[in-house]
Amino acid sequence: MKLPEDDLQAYADDRLDPERRRAVEAELAQLPENAARAAAYREQNAALHALYDPVLGEPVPERLRSVRARGRFAGHAMAAGWLAAGAVLGWFAHELAVDRPAARPSLARQAAVAHAVYSPEVRHPVEVGAAEQEHLVNWLSKRLGAKLRAPVLTKEGYELVGGRLLPGDAGAVAQFMYQDAKGKRLTLYVSRLATESRDTAFRFSQEEKVAVFYWIDGRLGYALSGELPKPELLEIATAVYRQLNP
């Protein structure tokens, strides 16, 4: 049976209902050329998100918060105040629950602090080492109540050191630590959130010396931290994201 082109695109965009999706996957298994295209399109989409989602987290520039209408409405005081007031209200309404400016530190802040606390450790950087990786992942998964995975970052030059359990706002937090040949460390902080969120956009935060890329997937918040330049960390965060969302 031929695979309709529209179905291939819809498959790449996750727009098919589960039954149709299964049927398409079965056909793609027989059509390596089409399967390669579908995979490439999915990679393109993931890369687009990784590159541009951080714009969503940028503060809205002043000139967009006080746009005035031109022409007929020039000098119409209502239009200017209208949008300025709306922008403030609308902007905060768009924020993620974890990012809401409040007494509680944000996901990025928590991850950065945990990174700063544990990454300098020489003797006890982690609680369970990579030699017991299966046990580590099972243990942390059980405590978080979710199936976790430790991404493989060897292509990016990082090896898993191990991980530990940490307390978070809404319960247990998992921290995986990675290290490159020079001893530079990254940590992946995985946190169970109080509420589910459908906003999976990639965000960035610079917490003093620690750069953090973070995102939310359902009930889990992920944050990748390191003292790295933003573009380098973005590349690794993209790799992590793709592995956790194949």
């Binding site: 082109e5 529209d6 541009y52 746009v67 709306g86 573009p231």
Partner: protein, 166 residues
């Protein structure tokens, strides 16, 4: 129309504009022009209809008008701040910059569709409405845009082996 509702969409308008223009300043110019026009035409928005699609439609019209009047080249100077500065290296590190460059090399109408669908996650019907074209045209531009990106990126760097989807 409730004013907050336009403001709610500003972050996504900025994201789309940044990807479309490649340059942070040009992108925010586009967003500003879009918001001005949306305010001027707010009486034309039908309450209950899709505001996001309406705003993206306005942005597309402004974008097309700008192209016509300025005959802007898609490869215009990239704002270095908008783009992660990746050191020249091999393999996957080139991928991020190449995507930006490959996008800029797409004909604007293909770039718009690839971004509205792939980045802004509009449905094909919403994209058709926003761009004022039939769905069939959306699908063919999507196909051509994605294939062109695939070819450009494959030529620019060694992509990791594509998985056969099971």
């Amino acid at each position: 129309m409730n004013p907050e509702r336009i403001a709610e969409h500003i972050p996504r308008l900025r994201r789309y504009a940044r990807a479309l223009m490649g340059d942070a300043y040009a992108a925010d110019d586009l967003v500003q022009d879009t918001i001005e026009r949306a305010i001027n035409k707010r009486h034309l928005w039908r309450p209950g209809s899709d505001l996001r699609a309406w705003l993206f439609a306005i942005m597309h019209n402004v974008f097309v008008n700008q192209l016509r009047s300025r005959r802007a080249h898609p490869e215009e100077a990239l704002d270095e701040d908008a783009l992660p500065a990746v050191a020249a290296a091999d393999g996957a590190q080139l991928e991020i910059r190449d995507l930006q460059t490959a996008l800029a090399a797409l004909p604007p109408e293909q770039r718009a569709v690839v971004l509205l669908v792939g980045l802004e996650q509009l449905t094909y019907a919403e994209a058709s409405e926003a761009l004022g074209i039939p769905i069939g045209t959306v699908m063919s531009r999507l196909f051509r845009g994605r294939e062109r990106l695939r070819a450009t990126l494959a030529g620019a760097s060694a992509l990791p082996g594509l998985k056969v989807v099971k």
